[in-house]
């Protein structure tokens, strides 16, 4: 190993990154974009469910009910409909997820008996969304009923809640919504690092093959290890910078509580960065084409990190076979560590097992990557 050659490789690679708009965009803009997209976009609570309304009666009472649906914030008005057929069509076309039909005798029945039926139909293609929307609808009706019962009771000289004793489900959903962000954002850091890290290094060796610079490079005394470390060094710096950006925005922008130690976070983030950079480099060495390497890098990093790491879908709810597979998904350990450090304030000792798993993966991948680069054309 020659420090001079190592430094020359790192310097050359840095210059190339600096002059390549595509690399710069992936390195600097992608984390920002993903942080906004995943931080705001991916949350397990659902707001603004599109709702269609078929108000047959058009009375003050029916209009008041519609208003309370829209004012709740859970629903947004998709369309006002004029017939029973239109309701079916709107649901079929996916114009709305829920449709409320208020019967023609709504206010009359309500005024005379104190109870009136309202029909709500939901598109349960996505059962999760439908279930949540039904919960919201019940909540809205409950609030409206309580309000109406109070007035109706007052008018008829009765004591207040005989009708509206339904529990306030919207509060339950709301709390969960708050929790899901704290739960998800630390994992987002892993997703972004996996995406950016492997993308960047997947191009680094294949680019030299494609542009024909590799042939001359391998005819010089430079060693395979110097090529690898020299190429990885600038990307490692970029990876840590991106990680710092994501972690800081998690704490200071998304207000995720941070209860652990920065040292633990730094160590594990370094290990994870090494793993994803190593994967990208390995693919780049083996595949020799920029497009092929970056596509497979996307597959090998994004997919397991989003689906099998427990970042969004809890691992303990997966089937046993899939759960076994996740033991080999390196991202799972980092996501576990991130959550524990952020939310539980776990120490290095508490996290020994996942840290060792991550370190072992990093060592294995770097070792394989170092061995797979040959100074040969074939």
């Amino acid at each position: 190993m020659s420090p001079r050659r190592l430094f020359a490789m790192a310097f050359k690679e840095s210059l190339q990154i600096w002059r390549d708009p595509r690399s710069l965009a992936v390195a600097l803009l992608m984390p920002l974009m993903q942080m906004v997209l995943l931080g705001y976009g991916v949350s397990l609570d659902i707001k603004h469910v599109p709702l269609c309304v078929y108000d047959e009666e058009r009375s003050d009472a029916s209009r008041a009910l519609v208003t309370s649906f829209l004012a709740s914030g859970w629903f947004s008005a998709a369309k006002m409909l004029q017939s029973e057929r239109a309701v079916r069509e709107a649901l079929d076309r996916g114009e709305c997820i829920g449709a409320v039909t208020i019967p023609v005798d709504f206010s009359r029945v309500l005024a005379s008996t104190g109870r009136a039926p309202v029909q709500a139909v939901f598109d349960a293609t996505d059962t999760n969304t439908a279930t949540i929307a039904i919960g919201y609808a019940k909540g809205v009706i409950a609030l409206a009923s309580a309000d109406f019962a109070a007035r109706w009771g007052a008018q008829h000289g009765l004591s207040a809640p005989r009708v509206g004793t339904i529990d306030l489900e919207p509060r339950v959903w709301f709390n969960e919504g708050l929790d899901s962000r704290n739960f998800i954002i630390p994992g987002v850091v892993a997703v972004i690092l996996a995406l950016v890290g492997a993308q960047l290094t997947s191009l680094t060796v294949s680019r030299e093959w494609e542009r024909g610079t590799m042939e001359e490079l391998i005819s010089t005394p430079v060693k395979a290890l110097e090529v690898m470390l020299g190429k990885l060094a600038p990307y490692f710096a970029i990876g840590l910078f991106d990680a710092a950006f994501c972690l800081l925005s998690a704490v200071f922008w998304f207000d995720v509580p941070f209860r652990g130690s920065i040292a633990t976070l730094g160590l594990t983030t370094g290990l994870f960065t090494l793993v994803v950079l190593g994967i990208g480099y390995l693919l780049s060495v083996r595949i020799k084409s920029q497009l092929g390497a970056s596509q497979i890098a996307l597959l090998l990093t994004m997919l397991p990190t989003t689906i099998l790491s427990g970042y969004a879908f809890p691992i303990d709810q997966m089937p046993a076979a899939v759960r076994a597979i996740t033991l080999f998904v390196y991202a799972r350990y980092y996501v576990t560590i991130l959550r524990a450090v952020f939310l539980k304030g776990s120490s290095l000792g508490d996290l020994l097992l996942p840290i060792l798993a991550l370190a072992a993966t990093a060592a294995a991948i770097v070792w394989v990557a170092a061995r797979s680069f040959r100074k040969r054309l074939d």
């Binding site: 050659r5 050359k12 190339q16 610079t213 042939e215 001359e216 391998i218 010089t220 005394p221 430079v222």
Partner: protein, 318 residues
């Protein structure tokens, strides 16, 4: 080129023995052996697909031969390519430097890879850039240089560490005549410092500049000698036919008695005959008889291309 190097005596800078390389069904190089003395300029000449690039790559230690051995200054390149790399320089056919780095940055990078002392690198770079006419382009991105300038920059980077063996794969393809002249001037200067140069080319006129050259065809060396001897050894004599319609002349002379081979060279036809004096008049008469019109016919010295065509033509006849 007055010194004839036969490569039979003294120490060899490069020696290859029984080289074979196959790519799938294609036998790119078959049973190739040659030796190059120190300080020689040795050329591989032949059409595309003759195996020139494959040889260069194997010599540079970036491609393994299937069989055979290569020694560069006594180092076994097949067994220990990394030991040979500090003493060789290889310029691939395709531009091998970084187009998104400037001239100076490329030079810095290659100087560092060979661990040159900074002072040596600066002095050497300055001298080479001057010889190449690139001194004022140091800050330009390599990708923004012309084809000729790129090749000269390639040579500058290849020569920074003063290699013992310089391997150039078609270095002047697509290079303007002026840059080509600079390029060769630098190469000739090198010979005095004992650098051995091996290069490949498809340009026959360039082959004349070598001390020795190997005529290659289908992965084999068909002839290997100095340009003068190769020409002298060409069977028959050469007549040049200058005519208003060289194509018609070529057609009319095909199959004429005593004609061993014909080569259309732009506006003239090279005719290889068994006896120049005897056939000159016969050919003039034949051209008139075939209605091609008057033509000037005179004996000329053969070029390498004539030798090459004679060599391959004989094979076609055999």
């Amino acid at each position: 080129m007055n010194r004839e190097m036969t490569g039979e005596s003294g120490e060899f800078a490069v020696r290859a023995e029984g080289l074979c390389r196959r790519f799938g069904a294609l036998q790119a190089v078959r049973d190739l052996s040659f030796a190059v003395a120190r300080g020689e300029i040795f050329g591989f000449v032949g059409p595309d697909g003759a195996g020139k690039t494959t040889i260069m790559r194997m010599l540079a230690g970036v491609l393994l031969p299937d069989k055979g051995e290569i020694f560069l200054e006594g180092i076994d390149v097949v067994a220990e390519p990394e030991r040979a790399k500090p003493i060789l320089s290889y310029m691939p056919q395709r531009f091998g430097l970084y187009e998104d780095l400037t001239v100076a940055e490329n030079i810095f990078f290659y100087g560092e890879l060979f661990e040159l002392p900074w002072r040596v690198r600066r002095a050497r770079a300055r001298q080479l850039l001057q010889a190449a006419g690139l001194l004022s382009f140091e800050r330009r991105l390599a990708g923004q240089l012309s084809g000729g300038m790129k090749q000269k920059l390639g040579l500058v980077c290849a020569l920074l560490h003063t290699p013992k063996v310089l391997l150039l794969d078609e270095p002047t393809t697509g290079v303007d005549p002026l840059s080509r002249r600079d390029f060769w001037a630098i190469l000739y200067n090198l010979r005095e410092s004992g650098v051995t140069i091996l290069f490949s080319t498809a340009y026959m006129d360039e082959a004349e500049r070598c001390s020795r050259l190997a005529l290659m065809h289908e992965g084999e060396i068909r002839l290997c000698d100095s340009p003068a001897r190769l020409k002298a050894a060409m069977p028959g004599a050469l007549l040049e036919v200058v005519s208003a319609d060289p194509r018609a002349a070529h057609k009319a002379l095909t199959g004429a008695p005593g004609v061993l081979g014909l080569l259309l060279m732009g506006d003239r036809v090279h005719v290889r005959v068994d006896n120049a004096l005897r056939r000159k008049g016969e050919l003039e008469a034949r051209l008139l008889g075939e209605g091609v019109g008057p033509a000037a016919i005179q004996p000329i010295e053969p070029g390498i291309e004539d030798v090459f065509v004679a060599l391959l033509g004989q094979e076609g006849a055999a």
